[in-house]
């Protein structure tokens, strides 16, 4: 067990260095801030038309941010960041060197996955900080909206945690695609196609079983009063992600590099 942890600790440290001077880290920071920034501008200039006087503005603020993030930003961000990180290895012909290193082969897959999980967490943490900070800045700049009169750190934290869990399967699937496919167009293109399919079929009665809808359903729970903490799509995402991760790790342990 100790050896496994050592391999993963060393691997994560090596993987973290590889994204230095690359777009991956910047993307993780800028992508969530772009949604928060745009929503901020809309509220700043048109907030008086969106918000009803005397009501809690955080609810609408949170809904606007969560919907854009869960439907579009997260799936596209995950397609892009996984393609970028695995693209570094594809472009440098690095797989053969990694698989020829004196470490178990399965760590190659898991180390990279852990890095991407870390980048995703950074992105969600940035989103969390951005939503809260921008809300309070609006309260300061536009006191008439009333942001400063309410405290919603817990509900926003829970809401973002739900979206994170709902996104895990997309992360793992896009990771597997970009791990296998050298072409960055395939990795990103598949992500775009899956998102488009969700948008087109969003009114379909079984859309809740479609993985690219899971972050949306997870976000929806936060905008619905009396919703339970754990929605079914979060469970699907967790279970599907765990199965896919186990399969990927197993396959990586048997990999041949031709």
């Amino acid at each position: 067990m100790e050896t496994t942890i050592t391999y993963l600790r060393r691997g994560a440290s090596a993987e973290a260095l590889k994204i230095k001077n690359s777009w991956a880290l910047w993307l993780s920071l800028l992508a969530p801030l772009s949604v928060v920034g745009m929503t901020f501008l809309v509220f700043f200039f048109r907030g008086d038309r969106i918000l009803k006087p005397g009501t809690d503005p955080w609810f609408i603020w949170m809904t606007n941010n969560f919907m854009a993030t869960s439907q579009l930003l997260i799936p596209l961000f995950l397609a892009l960041v996984t393609a970028l990180v695995n693209g570094i290895e594809h472009n440098s012909f690095g797989w053969k060197q990694l698989y020829a290193a004196p470490v178990p082969k399965w760590t190659v897959f898991l180390n990279k996955y852990l890095l991407l999980l870390g980048l995703t967490l950074v992105s969600f943490a940035t989103f969390w900080a951005g939503v809260l900070a921008a809300g309070y800045v609006l309260g300061f700049l536009k006191p008439e909206f009333g942001f400063q009169h309410y405290y919603h750190v817990q509900s926003i934290s829970v809401g973002i945690f739900r979206i994170f869990i709902g996104s895990l399967f997309i992360l793992t699937l896009q990771f597997c695609i970009s791990f296998r496919c050298k072409s960055i167009a395939v990795s990103i293109g598949s992500g775009i196609l899956f998102v488009l399919a969700f948008l087109i079929a969003s009114s379909w009665e079984y859309i809740g079983y479609y993985p690219y809808s899971w972050p949306y359903f997870a976000a929806l729970a936060s905008t619905t009063k009396q919703a339970s903490f754990f929605v079914p799509q979060m469970g699907y995402s967790l279970a599907g992600s765990a199965v896919l991760l186990a399969l990927g790790t197993w396959h990586s342990g048997r990999s041949i590099v031709s």
Binding site: L17, N21, F93, G94, Q97, L98, A100, I256, V257, S258
Partner: protein, 318 residues
């Protein structure tokens, strides 16, 4: 332990195509072992098998006396490898490239500066790899292979794409690594001329099996025993008929010139006598000794006599 790498009847099949058809390799400790073969002969496949990147269809691989399949991580700790083009992260500096591998393997930080010094890249270590020349990339690739201070280096075509000065630098570096740092080096190449001054032992791979294995001196002895004779006659067609009937291997070059494989000088005299007795006018006999490169080519090509034999000495004029 006498041999660091030993393969027994190593086989590899890709689809229906047999890439390796029973390879027996023995790489002595302390040697610089050249693994020669034309493109597509199976050199890179062999190296990938030795590093556990591919699974053999048959046979066995022992590294450091241990079976690779059961001791992969343990034996790979003693091996540094450069497989075809070096795996370099072009957006990172040379030093950061080494740091990535150092972190992965949990090595001492001092190793980075030590290998930069060995490959003479300290001055450029801070620059992004995308600014490096091909020769610098190759040297950085070797630095990566040296990082864990391995006993055995496996280098796949390390001189590929280098200009003559880069090849000379690489040659000096490999000899230095072998003699001063005690590394055993297994390197592949498709050009004998690039490595014949570097290697102590070599093998020639042809169509998935070894056509030769031994020291460079042994290959030179093979070359010395393999001579050709260019014979100038008034009627090359008749001369060819006469010699073929006597069991010589003959190649017609022009209407007055033929090339014959001979093993010693008495044979040349016998051949001359035969032609004269048949009424042919022999106006020139010239020995051509085959270079190591030609011996290598003859072992890896279908033709028994290389086309560009170098003429070395005139024997007689009739």
């Amino acid at each position: 332990m006498k041999h660091l790498i030993q393969t027994q009847d190593l086989r590899y099949r890709y689809g229906s195509r047999e890439i390796l058809t029973g390879l027996h390799l023995n790489i002595p400790k302390g040697s610089i072992y050249g693994f020669l073969g034309p493109n597509g002969a199976g050199k890179t496949t062999t190296i990938r098998l030795l590093l556990g990147l591919l699974t053999p269809s048959g046979g066995s691989i022992d590294l450091f006396g241990k079976e690779l399949v059961r001791n992969r991580v343990e034996v790979l700790r003693q091996i540094g490898a450069l497989i075809e083009v070096p795996s370099l992260y072009r957006h990172l500096s040379g030093r950061d490239n080494l740091e990535v591998l150092r972190r992965l393997l949990g090595l001492d930080k001092k190793r980075v500066e030590a290998v930069l010094e060995i490959v003479r890249l300290q001055q450029d270590a801070h620059r992004p790899v995308k600014q490096y020349s091909l020769g610098m990339c190759q040297r950085l690739g070797i630095a990566l292979a040296l990082l864990s201070d391995p006993e055995l280096l496996i280098l796949d075509e390390p001189t590929n794409g280098l200009d003559p000065s880069g090849i000379r630098e690489m040659r000096e570096l490999l000899i230095d690594l072998n003699q001063k740092h005690g590394k055993t080096i297994f390197l592949s190449s498709h050009l004998l001329s690039e490595i014949e001054k570097t290697v102590t032992h070599l093998s020639i791979l042809h169509e998935g099996t070894l056509a030769f294995e031994g020291s460079v001196q042994e290959l030179r002895r093979v070359a010395a025993h393999t001579q050709t004779l260019e014979v100038e006659v008034d009627n090359a067609l008749l001369a060819r008929e006469v010699l073929l009937l006597q069991g010589f291997a003959v190649e017609t070059l022009t209407e007055n010139l033929i090339r014959v494989a001979v093993d010693c000088k008495p044979t040349a005299a016998h051949l001359n006598r035969l032609l004269v007795e048949q009424g042919l006018a022999v106006s020139g006999l010239v020995y051509g000794q085959r270079s190591l490169e030609e011996v290598f080519l003859s072992m890896t090509q279908e033709a028994t006599i290389a086309a560009d034999s170098t003429l070395s000495s005139t024997l007689t004029l009739a």
